[in-house]
């Protein structure tokens, strides 16, 4: 045997593995001679070198003797040996087909025993030195002490030698726990458990008294107590110390190399070599032949070494413009990474470092909303800069962005903001318009709700929440007259007819017509005469409004006529001729919201039969017989002669507060509580021609100038905005609207600013009354 011990072992292992694999794989090549495998092995064994049989002995050593039952295994494998012995024998005897390889292995082993004689001789010599220890081994083995020292098993059969009284076999003895017997003897009779009625006390006594108690062991198979002999105790001790069971066994004996590299004169086996070991194998020849043929035919090619490194070449050597896909033009290249700013530097200027509060704010912010994804830091030198912990994260996020983000070409609005501002004519060119505050009319102690100017432009009347009506001289801001009325004044209106000097004042549910007695005395007396010249008609009509003539103190103060309404009157307005007077009594429920009085005949009409929303204000057309009624969201235009609705203007706002009609009569402006001013061109459309949102708060009042192309709006933000609103006679040209001046002066009290605005009838002046109890004149 030339190869060394260990060499053979490893080879053998490999071979075995191969065998198994081959069988598992069932490759077609091996299919054919699968049956011959065993034969081949036999042949090898016969030859004596690398023989499977002999090696299987060692493999048995290695693999805990699953298939061999010879003596060496017993010696070395102290744990399993005795247990497996019996089963092995049974297997040998019954030879039930466990598997092909196992069978073949056994076949291999059988003949080997003959050839192994010489070796066994040596073994025996060794064994002779050992102590016999032939006592009942079986009794000890189950309690975990296994005694392996045995004589050669080929001399006496182990099964005979074993003291088998109990035939239950190798089973857990707990199965017999509840039975009186513990198994069966050879004749099949029950073996009863020895009577053991020891209780704890007996046990203890026994422990105390019996000097051999410590070496008494119970045999589970028979249930009997066994006293261990000295040798056995010795053995137990030795095993406990991890020594060999055999006292005389020298574990450091010099190893005898049976399979050395030295070639001996005598062969290891004496078996004559097979014939087939001398003649070349036909199968191999066939196989080789096939391979040669395949190589000749070019079916088998030598394996080319694989290229692991990628090969690069000039990919763009010939750039063919035709090969560019159409979709490439549609491709949106990914935007590049954002370049870092100063704050990312390892040594940034000090102003880029975050202060303590900023840092705290940064930490509390959600990472998504942070403006900087990192905290700027300063390091004294490059050496001190640590690794950035989120580096891989950021690269990864970039990757995700590249393949998961939708790409879009966004038109960047690169507008110069100056270009967005509309080009308007300069306010300077649109003069005259009021520019500065010139007079303040002080005297009222509460908010001034309403103002009106006499047709001559000389006098101003104002009604306030302090229950007074004051008459002012426009040019000097002198209060000429104060008339007390019985409630907070809601509206005042000067009769537009210059030949009549009358002022309508509304408070609570009353409208009083006052003759202030200002100006031309002739006019005043003429007015008084006009009122007193009234003759009662024959037939008295039922009217919802009571007309009464003021007498006594009231008459001295100027009260001429008192009209009692069923509800609170909010607004009064005169017709241009000065005979008709319209009053608004906002009430959502009834149809009586607007009444028109005729002063000369002291008659009252209710023009509307049906209620169409909460009326905010009304107005007469300056020239034609039209009547404008503004409800919350719409302005309705009625023809008074035909008595029909002619137009309905949609204001596009939530709540109209005020309305004014252009003196030309074709344009209307509406102020609303949602900060809008809508300009309607009646010829154009029922929708606003223009909506201005120049006020910051609710509009309270709007007004047109009678001659100049001006209109003004007063709002809760305390400002009056004067706009140029030119209306052309040419129908094709749209009105030109240009804001020209923001007039400020009123202070805001109780969240109210300007409550009423009105223009001077001839001059480009505007009056405004405010919640601060003043009336101001802007010229």
């Amino acid at each position: 045997m030339r190869p060394t011990h260990s060499g053979t072992m490893s080879k053998l292992k490999n071979k075995k593995r191969n065998l198994e694999e081959n069988e598992d794989e069932q490759l077609p090549i091996f299919d054919k001679d699968g049956g011959k495998d065993a034969h081949l092995d036999d042949g090898d064994e016969d030859q004596g070198d690398l023989s499977d049989g002999e090696e299987s002995v060692f493999s048995g050593l290695e693999e805990s003797g699953s298939e061999s039952d010879d003596e060496e295994e017993e010696e070395e494998d102290e744990e399993d040996g005795s247990e497996e012995k019996s089963s092995d024998i049974e297997e040998n005897q019954t030879a039930d087909g466990d598997g092909d390889d196992q069978l073949s292995a056994k076949e291999v082993i059988k003949p080997q025993t003959d050839g192994q004689n010489s070796k066994e001789e040596k073994k025996k010599k060794k064994a002779a030195g050992k102590e016999g220890g032939e006592e009942s081994v079986a009794s000890v083995r189950d309690s975990g002490l296994q005694i392996s020292s045995q004589v050669d098993e080929y001399e006496h059969d182990t099964s005979d030698e074993e003291d088998i009284r109990n035939t239950v076999g190798n089973i857990p003895m707990e199965w017999y726990k509840d039975y009186p017997h513990i198994g069966y003897d050879l004749e099949g009779k029950k073996i009863f458990k020895p009577i053991r009625n020891k209780d704890e006390l007996d046990e203890f006594l026994d422990k105390m008294e019996n000097p051999d108690y410590w070496r008494t062991v119970q045999d589970k198979m028979t249930g009997a107590d066994i006293r261990l002999s000295d040798e056995q105790v010795d053995l137990v001790h030795r095993l406990q110390q991890g020594k060999f069971g055999d006292v005389n066994f020298n574990e450091y004996e010099p190893a005898i190399d049976f399979f050395s590299n030295e070639v001996m004169i005598h062969p290891v086996t004496n078996r004559p070599q097979d014939k087939r070991s001398f003649i070349p194998s036909l199968i191999e020849k066939e196989k080789v032949g096939k391979l040669v043929h395949a190589i000749k035919m070019g079916w088998i090619k030598p394996r080319r070494p694989k290229e692991t490194t990628p090969q690069y070449y000039d990919l763009w050597a010939k750039e063919d413009p035709n090969s560019i896909l159409g979709r490439h033009k549609m491709h949106v290249p990914a935007p590049k990474m954002k370049l870092p700013g100063h704050e990312e530097s390892y040594n940034p200027p000090p102003e880029y470092l975050l202060s303590e509060e900023e840092r705290l704010a940064w930490e509390q912010q959600d990472p998504e909303y942070r403006k900087l994804s990192f905290l700027p830091q300063k390091f004294a030198c490059l050496r001190a800069v640590p690794a950035y912990s989120r580096f891989i994260h950021e690269q990864f996020e970039r990757c995700l962005d590249l393949y998961l983000c939708p790409r879009q070409r966004k038109m960047r609005v690169n507008v110069n903001p100056e270009d967005l501002i509309p080009k308007l004519p300069k306010p300077k060119d649109l003069q005259p318009f009021p520019t500065t505050q010139s007079l303040v009319y002080r005297g009222h102690s509460s908010l001034v709700r309403s103002i009106s100017i006499s047709p001559s432009g000389q006098w101003l009347v104002s009604g306030s929440d302090d229950c007074t009506v004051r008459f002012w001289e426009v040019s000097t801001a002198r209060c000429l007259k104060t008339v007390e009325v019985g409630g907070a004044v809601k509206g005042v209106a000067w009769n537009p007819n210059p030949s009549i000097c009358l002022v309508a004042v509304s408070y609570d549910d009353t409208v009083v017509l006052l003759n202030p007695g200002l100006g031309d005395r002739l006019v005043c007396t003429a007015t008084d005469q006009l009122i007193s010249s009234y003759e009662e008609p024959e037939e008295v009509m039922d009217q919802s409004v009571q007309w009464a003539v003021a007498e006594g103190e009231g008459h001295e103060q100027g009260h001429r006529l008192i009209l009692k309404h069923p509800k609170a009157v909010r607004q009064v307005t005169w017709h241009g001729k000065g005979d008709y007077l319209a009053c608004v009594m906002p009430d959502n429920g009834s149809s009586l919201q607007v009444v028109i009085h005729q002063v000369s005949k002291r008659r009252t009409q209710n023009p509307f039969r049906k209620n169409k929303g909460l009326v905010q204000c009304v107005s007469f057309h300056p020239i034609r017989p039209y009547f404008f009624v503004a409800t919350q969201r719409y302005v309705r235009v009625y023809n008074l002669i035909k008595q029909e609705l002619t137009k309905k203007l949609m204001a596009n706002c939530k709540w109209i507060s005020s309305m004014a009609i252009h003196p030309g009569g074709d344009n209307v402006i509406c102020g609303s509580y949602d900060c809008r001013l809508a300009w309607f061109d009646l010829d154009l459309s029922t929708k606003p021609y223009k909506v201005l949102r120049h006020h910051k708060k609710a509009l309270r009042s709007v007004a047109y100038h009678r001659h100049y192309p001006l209109f003004a709006s007063g709002s809760d933000d305390g400002s009056v905005i004067v706009c140029h609103g030119m209306v052309y006679n040419d129908l094709l040209q749209n009105p030109l609207i240009v804001p020209v001046k923001v007039l400020k002066g009123h202070t805001i009290t109780h969240d109210l600013g300007v409550l009423d605005v009105t223009f001077h009838p001839t001059q480009p002046w505007v009056f405004s009354s405010g919640a601060d109890g003043t009336v101001r004149l802007f010229t």
Binding site: P349, P376, L382, A387, F396, L424
Partner: protein, 570 residues
């Protein structure tokens, strides 16, 4: 008008899965490799069955395009291969495993690169991300996260790239940030920026999907390889790179036995970046090709002149470190510094034990600058400057050799500014930048009081900005002033002064009012846009002012400290 009609498919990913029977991972890889990205539909509700829930949409056209990709077949093969291999492992069929591994299906991405980047310039333009990624991967440890081959390939490609940049001298800007070192180069007219992390072991995060990164790297290495090949060709360099003959010889004598493999030591030598590369055509020293001059007129002439000027500047920048001999101490980032210095024509070396490829010793008398990053150094040679590494980077960004005084050992370094920031009008400019600009213009650095003046000037500028921007505020302030004056009048009578009528001011006010009135008349949409723009502008100004204020506060406190110290000394 040309109207494009998109076919939107409801959740198109589902669509691929049904049609192609592809797993999610293969879809993802396909999308990454082919550069397919989702689209944002114009009418989200229409596409999404009336819902506005966020969802990714792909163009059906794109998905059809994916279906025709031959690589899909390869992916399938690979999937099958993995399955078979797993089975073989399970059965412990080792020979089978080996056989299968030998026949592992491989695929190439060449055609995809060609398809995605039909021209070379396209590829160069998109090489930014590829560089960042391959530099990152090349710093990974050779265990765990990805294949060792990938890491080696990334390293090889990035070294090739660096060598190319050195050979072409196309580096423009460098920036030391807290994240890593940014480099910007100009290659074939394209500015390319990449970032390299500092040399530390990575703490691999758990919430990063390395498969996505690996797929990207696969694509990027292919792209970078081809780009490198072509770039080397344009410079007549040998690809794969080879060291120049003499350099090779000199290196060979040293420390050959440290490396097990010849190839390994060679690649290390390449990555040392200290030797120049071999060329296919020997380099002619003076090859400054004169531009052919065409007679140009008017604007063209101006443009030409400007271009020439820029070119001249660039040429000068390229030779920034020429004639300097630098030595790196062992604590400075060797690779980065060697790369930068060599890019600008300097000579660089380091300690022999630090890395392969050092060309001269510390004791060399001709060394002009010694780069050290520690407070003091024991043994100093007289005839060289000991400076901190920031000097090199600041010089590159400033395009001039900065005075070394501020960078000596133990000196507090001046701030390192980002070269990528280009301040437009109204932006905050740090005073250091102003100083640098002055230096570039050739003005001599002056004493400290000058600085202060500068700062003051700057503040004035800011004030002016404020005025021009916030006219309203100015007006209001004036009103208040007026009011205040009125009040004072009411309290006491002072001799009347002729208030000089400020005509300019009045005019300005008038204009401002006009503007305000015109703004009133703006349409709603335009008003919104205008407000937005103005808001952005104001915020910009506010930020700039804040920075300026912070700087001022800092400087003031610094001055106060200095004064205190002086007093103490007295």
């Amino acid at each position: 008008m040309f109207r494009r009609i998109f076919h939107w498919q409801f959740s198109a990913l589902v669509y691929i899965r049904v049609r192609m029977r592809l797993s999610h991972s293969i879809q993802r890889r396909l999308c990454i490799l082919k550069g397919i990205y989702p689209h944002e539909p114009k009418h989200k509700k229409k596409v999404n069955k009336g819902s506005t829930a966020p969802r990714t949409f792909y163009l059906l056209k794109d998905i059809r395009f994916l279906l025709h990709e031959p690589i899909v077949g390869k992916f399938r093969e690979y999937k099958i291969f993995v399955r078979k291999l797993r089975k073989a492992y399970g059965k412990a069929e080792w020979s089978g495993v080996q056989r299968m591994k030998e026949n592992k299906p491989a695929y190439k991405l060449d055609h995809i690169i060609k398809e995605r980047y039909p021209t070379f310039i396209d590829a160069v333009r998109d090489v930014d991300d590829a560089l960042s990624m391959s530099f990152l991967f090349s710093t990974f440890a050779r265990t765990g996260k990805c294949h060792v081959q990938t890491i080696q390939l990334c390293r090889r490609l990035s070294v090739e790239w660096m060598n190319y940049i050195i050979a072409s001298r196309s580096l423009r800007k460098v920036f030391l940030s807290i994240k890593g070192i940014y480099y910007q180069a100009e290659v074939l007219g394209q500015t390319i920026t990449w970032i390299i992390p500092y040399q530390f072991a990575h703490d691999h995060p758990t919430d990063v999907d390395y498969r996505v990164m690996a797929t990207f790297t696969e694509l990027y290495t292919t792209l970078l390889g081809f780009v490198n090949f072509r770039l080397y060709q344009t410079l007549n360099l040998v690809y794969p790179p080879k060291l120049d003959g003499q350099g090779e010889f000199s290196l060979k004598s040293e420390c050959e036995e440290d490396y097990a493999l010849e190839s390994e030591s060679y690649s290390e030598k390449l990555s040392a970046l200290s030797a120049s590369l071999a060329r296919t055509v020997p380099l002619v020293e003076d090859e400054e090709a004169e531009l052919d001059l065409f007679p140009a007129e008017g604007e063209d002439l101006e443009k030409m002149e400007a271009r020439e000027k820029i070119e001249l500047e660039q040429n000068e920048q390229k030779k920034l470190f020429e004639g300097l001999k630098l030595f790196l101490n062992r604590e400075v980032p060797r690779e980065s510094l060697a790369f930068v210095i060599r890019c600008f024509g300097g000579q660089v070396s380091w300690d022999k034990s630090l890395c392969i490829g050092s060309t001269y010793d510390e004791t060399d008398e001709t060394i002009t600058h010694h780069i050290v990053d520690r407070p003091t150094i024991d043994k100093q040679y007289i005839n060289r400057y000991y400076i901190q590494p920031q000097w090199v980077y600041d010089c590159v960004n400033g395009k001039i050799l900065l005075p070394v005084e501020e960078y000596f050992l133990g000196v507090t370094l001046p701030p390192h500014l980002s070269p990528f920031v280009e301040e437009s009008e109204g932006d905050y400019v740090p005073p250091e930048k102003l100083k640098l600009q002055a230096l570039q213009r050739g003005e001599k650095p002056q004493a400290e009081d000058d600085e202060e003046e500068e700062e003051e000037e700057e503040e004035d500028d800011d004030d002016e900005d404020d005025q021009s921007e916030d006219e309203d505020e100015a007006n209001l302030a004036e009103m208040e002033e007026k009011r205040a004056q009125g009040k004072s009048l009411s309290v006491k009578v002072t001799p009347g002064k002729v208030k000089p009528e400020n005509r300019m001011r009045a005019e300005q006010e008038e204009k401002a009012e006009e503007k305000r009135l015109a703004i009133m008349m703006m349409k709603k949409k335009e008003k919104y846009l205008y407000d937005k723009i103005m808001f952005g502008k104001k915020r910009h100004v506010r930020e700039a002012n804040k920075l300026a204020a912070k700087r001022k506060a800092h400087d003031d406190s610094n001055k106060a400290d200095k004064k205190k110290k002086k007093k103490k000394k007295c």
